[in-house]
């Protein structure tokens, strides 16, 4: 049962800096991915990535592939925008829609987020929790 769920995680697109950090560390202890490691590339699932969040400022960002055309800094800004409670919940809404909603409500969302969203349609249509919730 667990393996079929993890296979769904593995279906995620892998881009750029996915395996930058050593993948072995995420398999510490009783990780269920160990059983599949001989079958599939040992790409750590985002779920395990979140457990290692202590070193970086954002939660588990380094394990999830960055969206096309976005650098790390800009990705960080988008993440901050997603987590900011002032603009409301972020799940179930594309970032562009959320930004527009915040603007329509007069909440003054940061304009730099809008420029990043216009640059990359992949980042604009998703949100921080895509595929993880």
């Amino acid at each position: 049962m667990a393996s079929s769920g993890l296979k769904n995680f593995y279906r995620q697109k892998k881009k750029g800096g996915v395996a930058k950090r050593s993948s072995n560390r995420s398999f510490a202890g009783k990780s269920p991915t160990v059983s599949l490691s001989h079958l599939v590339d040992p790409v750590p699932s985002p779920l395990h990535g979140t457990l290692l969040s202590s070193r970086c400022s954002g939660a588990g960002r380094d394990k999830v592939p960055l969206a096309a055309g976005i650098g790390e800094e800009e990705d960080e800004k988008l993440r901050q925008f997603d987590m900011d409670m002032r603009y409301g919940p972020c799940i179930g809404l594309s970032r562009t829609d959320r930004w527009e909603r915040a603007a329509a409500m007069g909440l003054n969302p940061p304009a730099e987020v809008e420029t990043i969203l216009l640059k990359s349609s992949a980042a604009a249509s998703g949100c921080l929790w895509d595929g993880r919730v």
């Binding site: 409670m85 919940p89 799940i91 179930g92 809404l93 329509a104």
Partner: protein, 491 residues
């Protein structure tokens, strides 16, 4: 001045619902001067915010509606707080400090012991017969919690009686945090009745005194205003329940005949000619429950599914041929379950939808007739309030929703609702002049005065199949009376 003079104007000047009926009246005028002309009213449909055909469901949850609602209502309450208690600080819930008096704004959540939970369904057997209509779920142990984005806090104190409140309303509270971590409430502020545009009744009355003005100068609107100044009536009917065992076709036929002027002598016909609009407020059909149990229906039984709708179409056909009709879906009608219910499909009414006086509307329904704002539902909002709170009568629930400035405060908690992401369409921004609900047990009406000279006529429309009563409203002075068609033979 004759109506004939108006005919040469291009069609685009006319609101579309007016033109065909006026021409018919003109022809009747030429044939016989004894026929009455039906009055007209300028109709403006404001249902756009309840329509969801542009929405795309992306898997979102209901948190967005609550966020929208809290955001709008909070801004409103923040603007009202300085007039209410100017010297107290306004805080968020997590920013509460023990013992310090302050004001907090949030959404109320009522924790109810008897509230049915979805998990109960798994413990009982699935039955084919629908459960008996649930009664009130209020319990003395219910308590209130106030919630905003930062956190929630339990409310204590004797000021707020939980049985008068429901989950989903946004209020401002003055009080302080106790040592147990609860919030002791000292005072409460509701948003209050929203602002209302003043009724243009007086302007219509004075124009009546003008003797002659050329129609070309005034334009079509001017001509109609001169013709007005008479009584104009709107008929509300709901709960026809065609297809149910208690439906009496004679009763509804009598209603239709009376409204269209086919009944009675000249006096009655003159009264009927002053009816400008009909609103059918929900539950027009009732499909026999046994057919909806999920079993496949044999082809010979399939006609019983469509019989009630066909009958409704035939009867509506007679109505729409005479005047504009708005039909709203209700809990038993073939429309979606969650609010806002979308308009009944025009395919269901092949006969009636050919007329442009036929208007299929959403539930809730908002429209303007001669600048008088109407707002109403088919009853789901008040029926739900009745299940989860207490009040003197249904009219008090109506008044409360106006004071809370929200049509359906219990959506999406206990009333099905579409998960909007960018707005909460049930917020009442401007106060209607007429506020109605359909499918109630009895006819009740009252006139509510607001603190800023708002005047609202509240109407509870009774179920026609049970009571035989329709409600008639006079647009000139907002007075209401019933139109009763008893067909029992007890004398």
């Amino acid at each position: 001045m004759e109506l004939r003079d108006i005919a040469p104007f291009p069609t685009s000047c006319f609101p579309s619902s007016l033109f065909p009926t006026m021409r018919a009246d003109v022809e009747m005028n030429e044939e016989s001067s004894k026929l009455f002309e039906r009055e007209q009213a300028i109709y403006n449909n404001l249902d756009e915010r309840f329509e969801i055909h542009k929405e795309k469901y992306k898997g979102q949850q209901y948190s967005h509606i609550y966020f929208s609602r809290l955001h709008h209502m909070r801004n409103l309450l923040y603007s009202l707080v300085p007039n209410w208690k100017p010297n107290l600080p306004v805080k968020t819930i997590l920013g509460l400090e023990e013992g310090k008096e302050c004001i907090i704004v949030g959404t109320i959540y009522k924790h109810m012991k008897l509230k049915p939970s979805i998990l109960d369904e798994y413990s009982k057997e699935r039955s084919k017969v629908p459960l008996v209509k649930p009664h009130n779920f209020v319990h003395p142990d219910d308590h209130l919690i106030l919630e905003d984005e930062s956190g929630r806090v339990t409310l204590t104190g004797s000021l707020l009686d939980p049985s008068a409140f429901v989950t989903g309303i946004v209020v401002a509270l003055h009080g302080k945090e106790t040592s147990e971590g609860d919030f002791f409430v000292e005072d409460m502020l509701e948003a209050g009745i929203p602002p209302q545009t003043e009724l243009p009744l007086s302007s219509i009355q004075c124009i009546k005194n003008v003797t002659y003005v050329s129609p070309l100068q005034l334009g079509i609107l001017g001509c109609l205003i001169i013709l007005a100044g008479e009584d104009k009536y709107v008929v509300f009917v709901s709960g026809l329940s065609i297809g149910s065992s208690i439906f009496n076709p004679l009763q509804f036929q009598l209603l239709v005949d009376h409204i269209t002027g086919h009944l009675g002598d000249r006096n009655e016909q003159s009264i009927a000619s002053q009816i400008v609009h009909v609103v059918v407020a929900g539950n027009s059909v009732q499909i026999p429950q046994v057919l909806l149990s999920g079993h496949t229906i044999a082809p010979r039984d399939q006609s019983t599914l469509t019989e009630p709708i066909k009958e409704l179409d035939i009867l509506l056909n007679q109505l729409v041929a005479a005047m504009p009709v708005d039909i709203m879906p209700g809990p038993n009608d073939p429309a979606n379950f969650s609010l806002p219910q979308q308009p009944l499909n025009r395919c269901l009414f092949p006969g009636a939808s050919a007329y442009n006086t036929f208007m299929s509307c959403t539930n809730p329904h908002q429209f303007e007739l001669d600048d008088i704002l109407f707002l109403g539902t088919s009853g789901q909002n008040i029926d739900d309030l009745f299940k989860y709170s207490e009040a003197k009568n249904r009219l008090e629930f109506l008044e409360k929703t106006l004071k809370w400035r929200h049509l359906v405060p219990t959506a999406p908690n206990t009333v099905g609702c579409y998960p909007f992401t960018d707005r909460d369409p049930f917020l009442i921004e401007s106060c209607p002049h007429v506020y109605f609900i359909g499918n109630q047990d009895k006819y009740e009406t009252t006139l509510v005065q607001g603190p800023e000279k708002q005047l609202v006529r509240l109407i509870c429309i009774p179920k026609f199949c049970e009571t035989g009563n329709a409600v008639v409203l006079n647009l000139r002075n907002l007075e209401c009376h019933t139109l009763s068609f008893p067909t029992s033979l007890d004398l």
